[in-house]
């Protein structure tokens, strides 16, 4: 095989963390219904993020000098999966903690690190990521938002769309064109950290099909950026974005999006005594597929911990994981309707309906299924 997943175990000291985190989450999310938990990492609660930060569970992988915990990938895996498995409302800090912080640490200047990273660790700086534009989705290199150098730094014009949490965030890390034209494709793109309180920025939340407004359209009109808004190297934005997406794809995020629904369903099976062979095999199928995927995700984490670069493996796990996450509402729907006399609770009906409607987004966000399969094919040497 060209890819290689080796069974890994979590180190004992990281397993030990689980109890404290689980108790904390239980205490702080006990008011939440399955319907709310089903938002997974789209659930926004700034207070919850601040409480997590007080416990020292934000910026786990960042160095201590910036307020981080200097922990490794395994620790992050445990904390992430505990949060996601419970459907805790993590979205306020999630992108800063997972992507923006590591990106700034890796590509940012010393001044940027010292300015942003401590704020991220204290849940005082929430980030969003500006990638898609109205005419640039999967074809990301065709973006038109442009930053032009001037005496005071950069003048920014254009717009971003489908930006998760833009309306709640302090900063956006945006990929924009700083030189050349759309024909130059990947060349001439740069990443900027944009303070969303600057004049000339308008944020318009977009309601999704479930009635939530977790993403926005963001307009930039002659926004004056300081010279130090540029992060990393001018013109190296494409490489940096790809490194960033590798962070995005490497975690346990792609297992648990439908977990709140699964737990709600299993609880109800037990309460109502639903125990047909069909229900048994459905619960078994979900359990088995989750267990195998979790082991694959852990294998990717172990490679990261070993300083390897499992970009192909991470992409593969993400694509496989979203397929399961999307199958789960269909499998559960089959169970409920298998006997039309069954009376599911309103909570289960609500949660199933929400997950069924929102789950197409699982294989869109952070790179569509088609893009991911193209990346895997390239990794296999097919293109």
């Amino acid at each position: 095989m060209l890819t290689n997943f080796e069974l890994a175990r979590l180190p004992e000291q990281d397993e030990h963390l689980r109890g404290a985190i689980r108790a904390f989450i239980q205490e702080n999310t006990q008011h939440m219904t399955a319907f709310e938990r089903a938002r997974s990492w789209m659930g926004f609660d700034a207070n919850f993020s601040k409480k997590l930060a007080q416990q020292g569970w934000l910026g786990l992988t960042l160095p201590q000098q910036y307020g981080g915990a200097d922990k490794g990938y395994f620790t992050r895996f445990v904390v992430s999966e505990e949060l996601l498995g419970a459907g805790a409302p993590v979205s306020a800090h999630w992108i800063a903690d997972r992507q923006s912080g590591p990106l700034i640490l890796r590509y940012g200047s010393q001044a940027q690190r010292e300015f942003y990273l401590p704020k991220i660790c204290r849940a005082q700086a929430f980030f969003c990521i500006g990638m898609s534009e109205p005419d640039s989705g999967s074809d990301l290199a065709s973006i038109r938002t442009r930053a032009i150098k001037n005496d005071d730094g950069w003048i920014l014009n254009g717009s971003k769309i489908w930006t998760t949490n833009a309306q709640h965030s302090h900063y956006m890390i945006a990929l924009v064109r700083s030189s050349g034209t759309a024909q130059d494709k990947h060349k001439g793109l740069s990443q900027f950290i944009i303070d969303l309180s600057l004049p000339g920025i308008t944020i318009r939340p977009i309601h999704d099909l479930a009635g939530d407004a977790h993403f926005s359209e963001v307009f930039f009109t002659d926004v004056q950026l300081a010279p130090e808004a540029l992060v990393g190297q001018e013109g190296a934005g494409w490489e940096q974005v790809n490194a960033e997406l590798a962070f995005e794809r490497s975690g346990p995020e792609r297992l648990y999006s439908s977990m709140a629904l699964v737990e709600c369903f299993i609880r109800e099976c037990r309460q109502q005594g639903w125990d047909s062979p069909f229900i048994q095999s459905t619960v078994g199928e979900i359990t088995a597929r989750l267990a195998v995927l979790r082991a694959m995700s852990l294998a990717v984490t172990a490679k990261l911990a070993n300083r390897q670069h499992p970009a192909l493996e991470a992409t593969l796990v993400k694509d496989y994981g979203t397929s399961l996450e999307q199958d789960i509402p269909k499998l559960i729907d089959q169970c409920l309707g298998q006997d039309p006399a069954r009376m599911p609770s309103t909570e289960l009906i609500n949660t199933l309906s929400f997950v069924s409607q929102i789950c197409p987004s699982y294989s869109l966000r952070g790179g569509t299924r088609e893009i991911l399969r193209g990346i895997i094919a390239r990794g296999l040497g097919l293109r």
Partner: protein, 343 residues
């Protein structure tokens, strides 16, 4: 692990399968010679402790070796023989030399003819010894007493029967019978995953070489996406196998039931997808007898559920989850192995 062992076995299997003419059905003599050579190599005792002449490797480390039976389309049941020999050693069963396989399903005791019939026995038509487990009793059956009722196409399975008085009953406790079943399931899974990996390798190679419309078919996005999906399934199958084989302790520790059920489900669940994509990419050549793909897809399709289908194993897993009254599924997924055992 010791890659020397892997290299040596791979070399042996490559050599043995190259000698047998691939275009023709393999003869009984050729099988016998291959089995004898493997026996002489000592590899069939690889799961025994070092003190008993084995290699002392763990069950998990042995998976790479057992998979090779499927990967090289070896015409003898190497993996079953290895686990049967290890099991016999652990439970003081006197197992004669030679190939060995196991049957615990699709069997029928006929009180009138006083015989036991196996409808789908692994290499049943020519195996040296067979361990047969009924609900009540475990028996050892030998080649010379066997009646071959039907040899299925492809040579992997046969319907066979033994007169009851020729069977040697084995005095075993219940654990020993379970251990044998679990090890046999694991061995079959390893062989199946080996065949999946080979089918995948053939598919990637073929797509890169076969030209249509003036370019290799691997350049077509529809083909790329199917192969990417196949890669995901094959990686998941191998991960599931590793999970099942991850028994703590010595080489003779048997797999944890929950992990084994998960692996058997996962592998059976995606087996046909893998075979279907391999054939779709190969086109007509994959249907021919001459081209080797069918040997691997036959193994994938026929071995995937010979100890129970995906649905059967899923229900086994699900029943345990549902009847556990309090644990969330997340708690089950994240519990460590030691908690599984006691729980």
């Amino acid at each position: 692990m010791d890659t020397l062992l892997e290299d040596a076995l791979g070399e042996l299997f490559r050599h043995l399968t190259a000698e047998a003419s691939p275009e023709l059905e393999i003869t009984a003599d050729q099988r016998r010679q291959i089995a004898n050579k493997i026996d002489a190599s000592g590899f069939t005792d690889l799961l025994l402790p070092q003190a008993a002449g084995g290699s002392g490797i763990s069950l998990r480390e042995a998976m790479a070796l057992l998979k090779m039976e499927g990967y090289y389309n070896l015409p003898v049941p190497f993996a079953q023989t290895v686990v049967a020999r290890a099991w016999a050693h652990a439970h003081n069963v006197a197992l004669p030399k030679g190939t060995c396989s196991y049957a615990g399903t699709a069997l029928q005791m006929d009180t009138q003819t006083r015989s036991i019939t196996l409808h789908k026995a692994w290499h049943g038509q020519w195996i040296d010894h067979m361990l047969i487990a009924t609900k009540q009793q475990c028996f050892l059956a030998h080649r010379h007493d066997r009646q071959i009722l039907h040899a299925y196409h492809g040579g992997l399975f046969a319907a066979v029967a033994w007169p009851q008085q020729t069977l040697t009953p084995l005095e075993l406790d219940e654990h020993a019978t379970h251990d044998l079943l679990h090890l046999s399931v694991l061995a079959m899974l390893a062989v199946t995953v080996g065949a999946m990996e080979k089918a995948f390798a053939l598919t990637v190679d073929y797509a890169s070489q076969r030209q249509q419309f003036g370019r290799p078919v691997s350049r077509f996005q529809a083909v790329q996406h199917q192969i990417s999906e196949m890669a995901e399934h094959v990686c998941a199958a191998d991960m599931a196998l590793q999970m099942a084989a991850d028994a703590e302790g010595s080489a003779l520790t048997t797999p944890d039931f929950q992990q084994l059920a998960i692996a058997q489900f996962q592998i059976a669940h995606i087996a046909d997808n893998i075979a279907d994509i391999a054939h779709a990419i190969h086109g007509a050549i994959g249907i021919s007898q001459e081209y080797p793909l069918h040997r691997y897809t036959r193994r994938i399709r026929e071995c995937k559920s010979c100890f129970g289908s995906a649905q059967y194993w899923a229900a086994e897993i699900g029943r345990r989850i549902l009847h556990k009254n309090s644990d969330s599924l997340f708690a089950v997924l994240t519990s460590t192995r030691d908690e599984h055992r006691t729980g």
